[in-house]
C-alpha cells in the first residue's frame, strides 16, 4: 500500500483553467461550494480564493479572469430579486459579502474600481442586505472600499477622495449606521493612502466627529480610542498635538468643545492646555496661494499654465481638512477658485469646467449642504455642455434649498438657454407663488412672457418687479423696450456665450444625475399619466435596484416589498404612507430615529393627533432636534400650518387643511434623503 506524500503546494490548481474559460460560472461555483478545488473545498470561498490566487502575478490570466468574473457575477446578483425565505436570503447575503471580501483580499483592481465608481448603485443595493452582523453585505461592501482605496482609482482620480466619506461614517455610527460601523469608518481613515504615505492621522478627526455626534461615555470613548492608539503608536506629545489640531478648529470651538475634550481621560496624554499664541496647531494653507491663483485667473492666464498650482492648492486644502476636520477654508477657496475658472473663460473651457466640477464635488464630500458648491457644480456642468446633467442637478439643488431664490433663477436661466422655456415659466411662476422670488425672478418672467408674445403679461411682470425695487436697471430697461414694442432678449448673455461656443455637447452614458433627472421630469406626471407610469415601470424593469425609481414606484403603488425582502428605507416609507399604514410608520421610526420628524409628519397627515401636536412643536423649535437638517427643510413648507394653528385651529385640523402640499413636502424630503450620496459620488 503506497503512502507517498505529494507536495502540490507550488503548482497551479487545475481549476484555475476553468476560471479563464467561464469566469462568471467559476465564481458562482466557488461561492456556492461547487467548485472542484480540492483540497480547499471545505474552506469558505474567500479563504479558498486567497490560497488559489494569492500568489499569482497581477497579470496572470486566471487572476484577470477572476477579476472580470466576480464583478460580472455581482452585477447579475444586483439584478436578481432578493429571496424571500430566510435560509436563502441569508445565504445570498453571505455570498455577496464573500465576493466583496475576495476583491479586497486579492486586491482585484477592475472590480474594486467599478464598485467605487458606481458607488450609488452598489451602496443602495447593499443597504438592503443587512440581516444580522454576520450577514451584512453593506458592511462587507464598505470594508472592501476601505481596503482597496489605493488600487480602486483611475489615473486622474484622487486616492484620498473617500476621506470625508469615512468621517461621515464615523460620525453617524450609532445613528444612521449601526454602532459597529465606527470600526469601518476608522478603518477607511487608517487606510487612506495619504495617511499611510505621509503619516497623517485622520482617524483622530474621525473619532472626534463620532464623539461630538454620538456623545459616548468616557469609557466608551476610551474603548474606541485605545486600540487605535496601540495600532498607531505615537509619543504622548505627538498625540496631544494632533488632538489639539483637530479640536482647535472652528467646528469644535463653535460647539464649546475645549481640547483635549474626550481625550482628557487618557492618562498618557500630557496634562497641558494650549493657550493663545502657541503655535502647536496646524495652520490652514497660506491665503496668498489662493489669492495669486485667483488674480491670475482673472487676468486671463492659460489653464495649462495654472493646472499644477491648482492641483497643489487642492491637495493642500484637502490635507488640512482631512487632518483637522475643519472645512471652512476648503469650502471658501474651492468655491472662489471654481467660479473664477468659469467666468469669462475663453480657452480650455472643457478642462476648466471639469476642474470646477471637481472642486464642487470635493466640497460636497466634506459638506453636502454647501449651497455655493451646488451652484458651482450646476454651472460647471452647463459650461461643460452637459446640459441635461446641469438641469437635473439644478432641480436637486432646489429640493435641498427650497428657500434659495438664486437657485431658482439660475436654473430658469439654464432652462431658457436650453430652449426649455415652458419649464422655466412654470418654475418662475411657482417660485413667485411660493414667495421665493425677487426682482430677478420678475425680470426672467417678463422675458419669458415677451418670448411667447404676451406683452401684457410681460408688462405685468416688470411692474411687479419694479414694485419691489423701482430703480432696478434691468427692469427699467425692459420697461423701456416694452413701451417701444421691442421684444425682450430671452437668453442671458453669459449663457448664450456657452451655447455659441464651438464645442459639441458631450455624448456619453447618462450619469446617475441624469437618470434621476429623467425621473424627476416624470414625477409630476405619474399621478395622472399612464404613459409616465409605463415609462417608470420600464426603467425599473431595466434596473430593479434603481433606488429613486423604486421609491416613485412605491409611491404610486406599482412596487411592493415582501416581508422578508429588505427594502430601501425610503421606499418602505413611501409604501407605508401610500397604504396609510400607521403601524408600519411607527416601526420605521425605530429603524431610523434621525428621520423622526418626517415620519411624524406622515403620521400627522394620516390623522394621528398626537403626532400632529408633536410635529407642530418640533417644527417651531430652533434646531436642537436630532434631525436638524430635515426639520430645516420642512419648516419652510410648514409655516402655513403654524399660521393656522396660531389662528385657533388644532394641530391635526391645520395639517388636514394643508395635507396636499405637506404631502408634496414629504415626498421632496424623502427623495432628498433617499439618495444622500447621489451628489457626492
Amino acid at each position: 500500500m503506497t503512502t507517498t506524500a505529494i507536495d502540490h503546494s507550488r503548482e497551479k490548481h487545475p481549476w484555475l483553467d476553468a476560471v479563464k474559460v467561464a469566469p462568471v460560472d467559476a465564481v458562482n461555483d466557488l461561492l456556492q461550494g461547487y467548485a472542484p478545488v480540492f483540497p480547499y473545498t471545505r474552506a469558505d470561498a474567500p479563504d479558498a480564493a486567497h490560497v488559489l490566487f494569492g500568489s499569482l502575478p497581477h497579470d496572470d490570466p486566471s487572476l484577470l479572469a477572476l477579476d472580470r468574473g466576480i464583478i460580472d457575477w455581482l452585477d447579475d446578483q444586483r439584478r436578481e430579486p432578493l429571496p424571500s425565505d430566510p435560509p436563502h436570503l441569508q445565504d445570498r447575503i453571505r455570498q455577496v459579502s464573500e465576493a466583496f471580501e475576495i476583491i479586497a483580499l486579492l486586491n482585484l483592481p477592475t472590480s474594486a474600481a467599478k464598485l467605487r465608481n458606481e458607488y450609488i448603485r452598489w451602496a443602495s443595493w447593499t443597504e438592503r442586505m443587512v440581516l444580522a452582523p454576520s450577514r451584512d453585505a453593506q458592511a462587507a461592501y464598505l470594508r472592501m472600499l476601505a481596503n482597496t482605496q489605493r488600487i480602486a482609482t483611475s489615473d486622474k482620480a484622487d486616492t484620498d477622495s473617500l476621506g470625508p466619506f469615512w468621517i461621515r461614517i464615523c460620525r453617524d455610527a450609532g445613528s444612521k449606521y449601526p454602532a459597529r460601523y465606527l470600526q469601518i469608518g476608522l478603518l477607511g481613515l487608517r487606510r487612506l493612502p495619504s495617511a499611510v504615505d505621509n503619516g497623517d492621522t485622520p482617524w483622530i478627526a474621525g473619532l472626534a466627529a463620532w464623539a461630538k455626534e454620538q456623545e459616548p461615555s468616557d469609557k466608551a470613548f476610551l474603548r474606541a480610542w485605545r486600540p487605535i492608539k496601540s495600532l498607531h503608536p505615537m509619543t504622548p506629545s505627538q498625540t496631544a498635538k494632533r488632538v489639539y489640531n483637530v479640536l482647535s478648529q472652528r467646528e469644535y470651538a463653535d460647539a464649546d468643545i475645549t481640547p483635549p475634550a474626550w481625550w482628557s481621560n487618557d492618562p498618557d496624554l500630557p496634562n497641558t492646555q494650549t493657550g493663545k499664541g502657541q503655535r502647536n496647531v496646524m495652520e490652514p494653507p497660506p491665503p496668498h496661494y489662493r489669492q495669486t491663483l485667483l488674480d491670475d485667473l482673472r487676468n486671463g492666464a492659460r489653464f495649462a499654465d495654472l493646472e499644477d498650482r491648482l492641483n497643489a492648492m487642492t491637495n493642500m486644502y484637502k490635507r488640512f481638512t482631512d487632518v483637522t476636520g475643519d472645512t471652512y477654508h476648503l469650502k471658501r477657496s474651492f468655491s472662489n477658485v471654481g467660479n473664477a475658472l468659469l467666468k469669462g473663460a475663453t480657452e480650455a473651457r472643457q478642462e476648466r469646467a471639469e476642474f470646477a466640477q471637481y472642486l464642487a464635488r470635493q466640497t460636497l464630500r466634506y459638506n453636502p449642504w454647501h449651497e455655493y458648491a451646488w451652484s458651482l457644480w450646476r454651472d460647471a456642468l452647463f459650461y461643460a455642455r452637459s446640459f441635461e446633467a446641469s438641469i437635473a442637478l439644478g432641480w436637486e439643488a432646489i429640493l435641498r434649498f427650497p428657500n434659495d431664490v438664486t437657485m431658482r433663477t439660475e436654473l430658469a436661466e439654464i432652462l431658457i438657454a436650453c430652449k426649455r422655456t415652458d419649464d422655466a415659466l412654470n418654475l418662475m411662476e411657482a417660485s413667485i407663488e411660493a414667495d421665493v422670488s425677487n426682482v430677478v425672478s420678475f425680470s426672467i418672467l417678463s422675458r419669458l412672457h415677451s418670448h411667447t408674445g404676451d406683452a401684457v403679461a410681460a408688462r405685468d411682470a416688470v411692474d411687479c418687479g419694479l414694485d419691489i425695487d423701482p430703480h432696478d436697471f434691468g427692469l427699467l430697461n425692459a420697461l423701456d423696450a416694452l413701451n417701444n414694442n421691442r421684444p425682450l432678449v430671452l437668453v442671458s448673455t453669459a449663457r448664450q456665450r456657452v451655447i455659441d461656443s464651438m464645442d459639441e455637447p458631450s455624448h456619453r452614458q447618462p450619469s446617475e444625475i441624469e437618470r434621476s433627472g429623467t425621473l424627476r421630469g416624470l414625477r409630476n406626471r405619474l399621478a395622472k399619466d399612464q404613459a409616465a407610469l409605463n415609462e417608470l415601470k420600464s426603467i425599473l424593469d431595466n434596473d430593479p435596484t434603481f433606488a429613486y425609481a423604486q421609491l416613485l414606484a412605491a409611491r404610486h403603488g406599482i412596487w411592493e416589498s415582501t416581508e422578508n425582502q429588505l427594502p430601501l428605507f425610503a421606499a418602505a416609507f413611501e409604501e407605508a404612507l401610500a397604504s396609510e399604514d400607521l403601524i408600519r410608520l411607527e416601526a420605521l421610526t425605530q429603524q431610523q430615529p434621525r428621520l423622526a420628524s418626517l415620519i411624524l409628519l406622515a403620521r400627522a397627515i394620516l390623522g394621528d393627533e398626537t403626532a400632529a401636536t408633536e410635529v407642530t412643536n418640533r417644527l417651531r423649535r430652533p434646531d436642537g432636534s436630532e434631525d436638524a437638517r430635515m426639520t430645516r427643510t420642512l419648516r419652510h413648507r410648514f409655516e402655513p400650518v403654524l399660521t393656522l394653528v396660531d389662528n385657533g385651529l388644532s394641530a391635526v385640523e391645520a395639517i388636514g387643511k394643508r395635507s396636499q402640499s405637506l404631502r408634496v413636502a414629504i415626498y421632496d424630503t424623502n427623495e432628498i434623503l433617499a439618495v444622500p450620496e447621489l451628489m457626492r459620488a
Binding site: 503546494s9 471545505r42 500568489s55 445565504d91 453571505r94 474603548r223
Partner: protein, 296 residues
C-alpha cells in the same frame, strides 16, 4: 445513512462507482453515516431547497446547498436544532477544556491589523486591542457548528513550538495551506460549560455527521458507538490510539481568555493518496469500536 429517494440513490450509486477517489470517498461517507436522524435525513431528501436529480453531481450539489442554507447559517443550524434530533454526545464533564484551531486571515483583514500586531498585543496582554478585535470577530462569525477537540487529546502537540502545523495535520485540516505564505491561526480554548451557557438548544455539543459539513473526502464518519467523531489526520494513521476525538460545538462568544495561543502554519499540508489515508483510518475505527463490520 439509508437514502430512500430513488433519484438520490441513483446519484449515490454513481458516486460509489466513480473512479475518482475523492468522489468515491464523499459518496461512501453518505453510506457509512449512522448519526443523521430520520427526520433530518427526510428533510435532506425531500425538502424543496435545491434541485433533485439522479446524478452524483446533482446529489453533491444538493449536499453543498443544504450545508450553505442550514448549517453555515446565521440562524440556528440543523446540527443543534432540537426538532432535528441532533446527534447528541450524551453526558459530558462540563469543566473539560475544548480547543479549536481558527484561521485569522479574514478576521485580521476585517479588523485592519497584521499578524505581528495582533501577536504583539496578545503577548503584551493589550486588553483594549484584544477586546476590540474579538468584538468585531464575534460579530462577523455566524452560527455554524465548530469542529473542536478536547485539550487533553492534543495536549502534547500544543506544547511544541510548531503546534499550528501539528494540529493542522492531526485534525485533518487539509485546507489550511501555505501556498500564499504562512497561515495565521489562533488556538481557542474554552470549557464545555461555556458552550452550554450560551446554548439556545438542548444539544449544543454533538457528534459530527456527514451533513454537518460540505462533501469532503477528509471527513470520515465514526460509528455511533464511539460517542465522538474521530478526525482523519493528514498523515497515515498509525493505530487507533492516535485517533483524535472530534465533535461539534455551538457558537461561543470569544473572550480574551479564550484566545489562548496565536501562531502561524508555515509548512505545506502533507498530501497522501486519499484512498490510503481512508483505508488506514477505517481500520483504526474498527479496532477502536470493536466493530470489524463497520465500513464493509
Amino acid at each position: 445513512m439509508d437514502i430512500l429517494s430513488l433519484d438520490l440513490q441513483s446519484g449515490l450509486d454513481q458516486g460509489l462507482a466513480s473512479n475518482n477517489a475523492s468522489t468515491k470517498a464523499e459518496a461512501t461517507n453518505l453510506v457509512l453515516e449512522q448519526g443523521v436522524s430520520d427526520i433530518r435525513r427526510n428533510f435532506f431528501e425531500t425538502e424543496d431547497f435545491s434541485e433533485h436529480g439522479k446524478t452524483w453531481t446533482m446529489l453533491s450539489k444538493r449536499h453543498a446547498d443544504y450545508v450553505r442554507l442550514y448549517i453555515k447559517t446565521s440562524q440556528e443550524p440543523h446540527t443543534f436544532d432540537d426538532t432535528m434530533y441532533p446527534n447528541s454526545i450524551g453526558k459530558i464533564d462540563t469543566v473539560q477544556n475544548i480547543v479549536r484551531l481558527e484561521s485569522l486571515l479574514r478576521p485580521l483583514e476585517s479588523y485592519g491589523c497584521s499578524y505581528d500586531e495582533l501577536k504583539t498585543a496578545h503577548d503584551s496582554d493589550d486588553i483594549d486591542l484584544l477586546d476590540d478585535f474579538l468584538s468585531l470577530w464575534n460579530e462577523d462569525r455566524d452560527m455554524r457548528p465548530a469542529f473542536a477537540t478536547f485539550l487533553n487529546a492534543v495536549s502534547e502537540d500544543v506544547c511544541h513550538d510548531d503546534w499550528p502545523d501539528r494540529l493542522r495535520d492531526r485534525l485533518g485540516l487539509a485546507h489550511y495551506s501555505v501556498a500564499n505564505g504562512p497561515e495565521p491561526v489562533a488556538l481557542m480554548r474554552y470549557s464545555v460549560s461555556e458552550v452550554q451557557a450560551e446554548a439556545t438548544s438542548g444539544n449544543p455539543l454533538t457528534m459530527p455527521t456527514v451533513l454537518d459539513s460540505d462533501p469532503w473526502p477528509h471527513y470520515f464518519p465514526a460509528p455511533r458507538s464511539l460517542q465522538y467523531g474521530r478526525a482523519m489526520a493528514l498523515t497515515p494513521c498509525e493505530g487507533d490510539e492516535t485517533l483524535v476525538v472530534e465533535f461539534l460545538n455551538a457558537k461561543v462568544t470569544y473572550r480574551r481568555e479564550n484566545l489562548w495561543k496565536i501562531g502561524q502554519i508555515v509548512t505545506p499540508a502533507p498530501i497522501h493518496e486519499i484512498t490510503d489515508l481512508r483505508a488506514l483510518h477505517l481500520l483504526a475505527l474498527q479496532i477502536a469500536s470493536g466493530d470489524d463490520k463497520f465500513g464493509t
